[in-house]
């Protein structure tokens, strides 16, 4: 209820109290002959104010309930944010450690290759097709796709043919003879 945000709660308590008092006063004034004629309008006003007061009291009760729920949710959200940050820290720590281990192990293997495998460099000749297959695989390309090496031969015939300008024709040549 937006009006509850504008006015303090005591205003609505006051409306209910005044309404109930007006009802009682209307009933009591009936017994006093001089002011008895005012009892009906006072009672009508009392009924209206009581209805209004009860309406707003209900609104205040519901509003309080919602506010409590919002506060509870806000607490949960704040706790979730803390937990989320903890998860991030955990994940980052894990990935940093894992990456470091991967790097160290990789470096160790590379050192081993440089030390031990290098002895067989002279004995083992790697054919160009093996390099081509490796590079195609590393680049995720098909073997047929051009992988340039200094030995690659590029067919330039089609390219050159396309660069030769076509002989221009005059518009007269298109006319019927």
């Amino acid at each position: 209820m937006w009006i509850l945000n504008w006015l303090p709660d005591f205003v609505f308590h006051l409306i209910l109290i005044v309404g109930v008092l007006a009802l009682l006063a209307g009933w009591a004034l009936r017994m006093v002959p001089v002011v008895a004629k005012y009892s009906l309008p006072i009672q009508v006003a009392g009924v209206l104010l009581t209805i209004l007061g009860v309406w707003y009291e209900g609104g205040i009760a519901k509003d309080t309930e919602w506010k409590a729920r919002v506060a509870e949710l806000e607490t949960k959200v704040a706790q979730a944010e803390v937990k989320s940050a903890t998860v991030n820290t955990k994940v980052v720590t894990k990935i940093v450690t894992k990456t470091q281990v991967i790097k160290e192990k990789g470096d160790e293997v590379v050192r081993y290759i440089d030390r031990e495998v290098a002895k067989y460099d002279a004995e083992c000749k790697i054919p160009l097709v093996a390099i081509k297959a490796h590079d195609a695989s590393a680049l995720n390309k098909a073997i047929d796709e051009i992988i340039l090496t200094p030995n690659s031969v590029i067919g330039t015939t089609d390219h050159n043919a396309l660069t030769v300008p076509k002989a221009k024709k005059s518009w007269r040549e298109f006319l019927p003879k």
């Binding site: 209820m1 309406w55 979730a80 894990k94 192990k105 293997v109 460099d121 790697i126 680049l139 090496t149």
Partner: protein, 94 residues
């Protein structure tokens, strides 16, 4: 006079009913921020890119590529772990 009185009563009642209109509850949730490390793209694999290569050079390249794969796989695993954990945290609130 009676018609005016009826109108006033009707408008007053309408006004009272409208005061019952609810306002939205502002509970804002922010999407968890992903660690920068997980946003890093996987590096492209090394190629030999020359006609002649020594066995050790080829092995070096292959080994480095495997390391790159393992690093990238670690990031993917971390993404999965991050999602599972964050979802668990998210579901706890509701």
């Amino acid at each position: 006079m009676a018609r005016i009185f009826t109108k006033v009563i009707t408008l007053s009642l309408l006004g009272i009913i409208l005061t019952g209109c609810s306002t939205t509850v502002p509970v804002k949730r922010t999407f968890p921020v992903v660690p920068e490390l997980l946003l890093k793209e996987c590096e492209p694999l090394n190629t030999i890119n020359k006609p002649e290569v020594k066995l050790s050079e080829l092995m070096d390249t292959v080994s480095k590529n495997y390391s790159k794969y393992h690093s990238c796989a670690a990031v993917t695993d971390a993404w999965q772990e991050w999602y599972k954990e964050q979802k668990k945290v998210f579901d706890e609130v509701n």
